[in-house]
Structures are given as structure tokens and as C-alpha cells.
Amino acid sequence: MRIRAFTAFLAVSVAMPFAAHATDLEVTHWWTSGGEAAAVAELAKAFDATGNHWVDGAIAGSGGTARPIMISRITGGDPMGATQFNHGRQAEELVQSGLMRDLTDVAEKGKWKDVIKPQSLLASCTINGKIYCAPVNIHSWQWLWLSNEAFKKAGVEVPKNWNEFVAAGPALKKAGIQPLALGGQPWQANGLFDALVISVGGTDLYNKVYKDKDAKVAAGPDMAKIFEAADQARQLAKGSNVQDWNQATNLVLTGKAGGQIMGDWAQGEFQIANKKAGTDYTCLPGLGLNQTLTTGGDAFYFPLLKDAEKSKAQEVLAATIVDPKTQVAFNLKKGSVPIRGDVDLATANDCMKKGIAIIAKGGVATSTDQLISADTQKQKEDLMSEFFNTSISVKDAQKRFVSLIEAAD
């Protein structure tokens, strides 16, 4: 304890020798890739500017590694000041058991109900009429990122949608280019599949399967088509021996792979590598097939703390996160869409603008993180990860998918 107090003292005295009332707030998150780290630096800067101090608690290795640690600490009675979760159902039970802080006052002061768009974001922060999280960005999964260079090398035109991409697969292969880059972590295969469901199958199908959990639809011919498409993707993804999503993005970035289906956070990697949308790479929201994006994303949750000063700092941080200036700075770096419609993103690049336009037009669907539980999501990940890496048949996979949806909650 003494050691900790001492280090804390040291950190304060070194970082902010002038601010006597600076409160340290430890913030945990899993933003560790290049683009992510740059974005989180913006948040920290904005928070430090309020006279408090952001103590960074990054945990590498994606949310799957980080969340267990965060949850253990919150339930173990040693909570951090604030923590990232994907907004949706990940923190539901923590809230229900009274471990998280009610932010309703802050929200009312900041008029969150009016400024946050789409409203579904705030809805998933709301439990029993109280607001428990501050959404920070909107992420959508349905993006196909293409390397213009790769297609030039293969001698085919840059595809305009997923179907054209599939058709161009053989040409890419011939040119010695990996057609589709896909990292080995299970959530990536899972995300790709869900992107196919909504972009190839349409919003109706997506809602019936994931929102209504209709097992009949899941077993039906429309879903069978999705599994066929996933099978094509599986063929195209064969041979991309990478683990992390940004390594896969890097394959596209360097022209070693033709394309990747990945959420809009991939944008941040292109930006950091100084690639230009349109000339170096192409992005196709909705996989070029339809104009709907899911509005998942990240949110900050604030554990209930005993320390009054820290609690105050939590309020400041929550307000800072939703603040228009922070929203612009953060989301430009992160490649995601701001959570409010009233900010000016003139400096955003073409891809981001496309995304913002779609969301502004109302082409939105709720993300799977909000619709199904972490448990079902994990089972889906297991299934997809197996599907994409073995040769289990389309039929078997669909059968297992159906029983999974039947039991989903």
C-alpha cells in the first residue's frame, strides 16, 4: 500500500506539479493499435485539460483479454475510475448489482437526450430509466476495405461491391495476392459473418435472426444463402496467416491482400500510414450492397467509488467524453463516427463522410453487441471460428447456428 501511495504521489508530483487539486483517474481500455492509441491520447489530453489527470490503463490483446480483468477488478472491490466496454449488454449485470455509477445527472446537464444520435446509443446505456454509460463513438462493422494497388497488379478493376470482389478472387490469386485478409481471432470471423448477414441478406433478415431470435428464419433459405456467401469468403480467406485484425489490415495496406471485411476502426490504420482514400485504398460501406450500418461502438462506464473527489472527476470525464470538441478530435483519429449529430467533421476523409451520411440518413441497425448476450456471442464466435478454419459443411454450420439462435438470450 505504501508503495502504491508513493508511486501515486510520484506520478502526481511529476505530471502536474502545479495543479494542487488534480485528481488521478485510472481509465482502463483495450485501445492499443496505432490508430487507437492516437485517439485515446486525445481523450487523455482533453481530460487533463480540465485539471485532472488521466492514468492510462491500457490492456493489450483485444476486448476478450481486457474485459475479464476489468470485471474481476470491479467485482473484487478494487475498481478503476472508468472503463471502456462495448455499449450493449456487456456491463448489464454489473449495473444491475449496483456496482456502477448512475450518470443521469451528468446526462441531463449535458442534454444527452437531445444531442446523442442515434438515440439507440443512449438507450443501451439506460437501465431502468437511469443512464449508466457515456457513449464515445459509433462503430460499424459493414465495411469492405480494398487495396487499389493489389487490384491493379491483378489487372482487374477495383470492385464496387462484395459480389464483384468474390468474382475478382481468382484473378487476385493468380497474381499471387491473398484475396481476403482475415485475422485468426474468433471475433473477426464472427464479425465478418454478421456483416454478410446484414449486407448480403438485408436488414430484415438481420433483425429477424438477431433481434427476434427467430429460429425458423435462421434455418430458412435466406440464411442458407448467407452461409453460402460465408463459404465463398472462407475460400478467399484461406492462407492469411495472421492473428490480429490490424495485421490483416496491414496486408491490405501494403497490397499483399486484396481486401478485408473489418469495422470502420480499420480506417485509423490507413490514416496513420498516410494512405489516401480513393487513390490508395477503397472503402465500401455496407459491403457496397446496401446502405445500412450497425451502430455499435464503445462507451465508458464508471464504477461506483467511495472517494468523493474521484467521483467528481468521473463526472468531469463523462462530460468531457460527450463534449463536441473531444468528439471531433477523438473520432477523427479513431476513424469512427461521433455520437452526436451536431458536430462539424469537415476534416473527415471520404470514407468517414460516407459513413456519417449513411447514419444521418437513418440507415442504421442495432449492433449485435446490444441484441444478443456475450454468451451467445461467444458461442457464435466459436462456431464461426471453426467454420472459417476447417471444412465443416455449410449445412452442418447452419444447423448449429439454428440451435444456437434457439437458445439465444
Partner: protein, 300 residues
């Protein structure tokens, strides 16, 4: 308490009092953590606890789901393959190396250090290094190919069928040095006279090892078995560092299933059910043995 129950023998409780006091941490660990934690886990495996434990009992639902999950089946198979092979090869390699080292060789210290040093490294480090050595582009495969053998394929970490052997190679690398050390210590403990007698009788060396020396080394083998076997059941870090369970689910292991479902899927009940199955397996194998070995000779 002791006095009121058995007033005639007050010494029973006070006897070895200091020893009992000294053993309090051990007793607490055994009772509260290992026994208590286990019982707690088993009880909650019959509930539908999600992120937080809650006592809503659902019978064997979690177990039914567990055994219907293909990932769990794969995990069990992998652990079986890994366990059996790891046990055999650890003992075999460890013993052979120890036997060779016991031939009054030169540079014994050097060899021993070389064989033992990987044990100083964590599984995380071991996994990373072997992931790198087995990397198809830069590692062994790439090098052999660049030497002119273009069709050479040695790519265990990206081939679902054999990925578990890739993990085995790394696991053996890390652990066999310690086994060798234990075996060597055991061999050194054997009386020189026995060797002399065997030599005088003209018994071939290999026969002496198998029929005379190995049976005499029973205690060493037991300590070694405890070490290897407990390591096998706990196999987790190595897999996480080397393959993260991939490609697909091909190198998943039970401990990882437990962890993933407890914390990532936020389904404690499922994770507890899986860990109860692991405990059951361990119990079936270990408890009778532990009882015989450590608890069953009270009258001696």
C-alpha cells in the same frame, strides 16, 4: 471442545500444538481455497450464473450444453493427445538424457544448463519463441525452402490437424530439462554397487536400466509425474501465447474453455460446469493415488 468431549485425554488437542499452529496456513489453503473453492465451483455449476454468481439452480443444463459443444469436445481430445504424448515423451526424453548424462561425460554442467534453461522461461515466452521458429514464412519452413527444397512443408501452427503437435514441441522444450534433472538426481541416488553387481553378472546395460534401476527410482517417477501431470491439466498460457486456440478451434484446451466462458462469454455457470468436469477427471486419476501415497499409511 476437546476437553469436554474427552475429558480423559486433554493431550489429544494440545499435542503438537505448535505444529498445528504452524500448519494453519496450509490447512486454510487446503480447506478454504482448494476444498472450499472446489465445492463452491461445483455448486454453482448447477446454476445459471452469468456475469455474477447467483443461486438459481437449473439442474444439469450446463452440463448438457457443455457436452453438446463441439469446442469442448475438441478441447478434450486435444488435451488427451497432448497429455498422453507429453507424459510419454517427457519421461522418455528426460530419462534417456539423464542416462546419457550419467555416463561420466565431460562438460556435464554445460549440457545440464543447456537442457534446463528453458524451464526458467515462462510459457508465454516459450509460446512466443516457438511461434516465431515455426512461422511458415520466416521460420524453419521458410529456411528449408530457401535452401532449395521448395515443396518442404512444416507448418504445424497453421494446419488444424497437427497444430497440437506444434504446441507439444514447445511444451517438451520447456519442460523436459526439469524431468532430466529429476531423473539424473534419481540415477545418482542409486548405489554404485548395484551397477557393479549387474556388470559382474553380465546383464546388458539396457536390461539393468529397465528391470533394476527404474523400479528403484519409483519416488522420483512419482514426483515427476505429479509435476508433469499437473502441468498438463493446467495447459493454458502456452496455447494462448502460441496459437490463441487457433487456427479456428483446432488447438483449444479445457482450461481455456473454462476461462473464456467464465469471463469472455460472461457465463460463469458454463465455465464452472467445464471446470467441474476437469476436476472430476483429475479426481478420478489423482485422488486414489494421493490417498495411497500420502494418506493411507497412518498405522505405519
Amino acid at each position: 471442545m476437546a476437553k469436554s468431549v474427552a475429558p480423559g485425554r486433554p493431550n489429544q488437542f494440545l499435542r503438537n500444538l505448535n505444529s498445528k499452529i504452524a500448519c494453519i496456513p496450509m490447512m486454510l489453503t487446503a480447506l478454504v481455497i482448494f476444498l472450499g473453492g472446489t465445492v463452491w465451483t461445483v455448486i454453482y455449476s448447477f446454476t445459471n450464473s452469468k456475469l455474477l454468481p447467483r443461486a438459481t439452480f437449473v439442474g444439469f443444463d450446463q452440463y448438457e450444453r457443455l457436452w453438446a459443444a463441439s469446442r469442448w469436445i475438441i478441447s478434450i481430445q486435444n488435451l488427451a493427445i497432448y497429455g498422453v504424448l507429453c507424459l510419454i515423451f517427457s519421461l522418455l526424453i528426460g530419462f534417456v538424457l539423464a542416462a546419457l548424462m550419467d555416463q561420466k561425460i565431460r562438460f556435464e554442467n554445460t549440457f545440464r544448463t543447456i537442457f534446463l534453461y528453458p524451464f526458467a522461461l515462462s510459457f508465454i515466452v516459450t509460446g512466443l519463441v516457438w511461434q516465431w521458429v515455426l512461422n511458415p514464412e520466416y521460420g524453419v519452413q521458410g529456411v528449408v525452402r530457401s535452401l532449395g527444397w521448395e515443396s518442404f512443408t512444416f507448418d504445424p501452427l497453421y494446419t488444424p490437424e497437427i497444430v497440437i503437435y506444434g504446441i507439444l514441441i514447445a511444451g517438451l522444450w520447456q519442460g523436459t530439462g526439469l524431468v532430466m534433472c529429476l531423473m539424473l538426481a534419481g540415477l545418482r541416488g542409486i548405489d554404485e554397487d548395484i551397477w557393479k553387481a549387474a556388470r559382474v553378472d553380465g546383464i546388458p546395460m539396457w536390461k539393468t536400466y529397465i528391470f533394476i534401476v527404474i523400479p528403484m527410482m519409483r519416488p522420483v517417477f512419482i514426483t515427476t509425474l505429479v509435476l508433469i501431470a499437473s502441468g498438463i491439466v493446467k495447459l493454458y498460457d502456452l496455447v494462448v501465447a502460441q496459437t490463441s486456440g487457433g487456427p479456428g478451434n483446432a488447438s483449444e484446451v479445457p482450461a481455456k474453455y473454462v476461462y473464456d466462458y467464465m469471463f469472455q462469454a460472461q457465463n460463469l455457470g458454463q465455465g464452472f460446469a467445464a471446470s467441474t468436469m476437469m476436476l472430476l477427471t483429475v479426481a478420478i486419476i489423482v485422488v486414489p493415488w494421493a490417498y495411497l501415497e500420502f494418506g493411507g499409511r497412518k498405522r505405519v
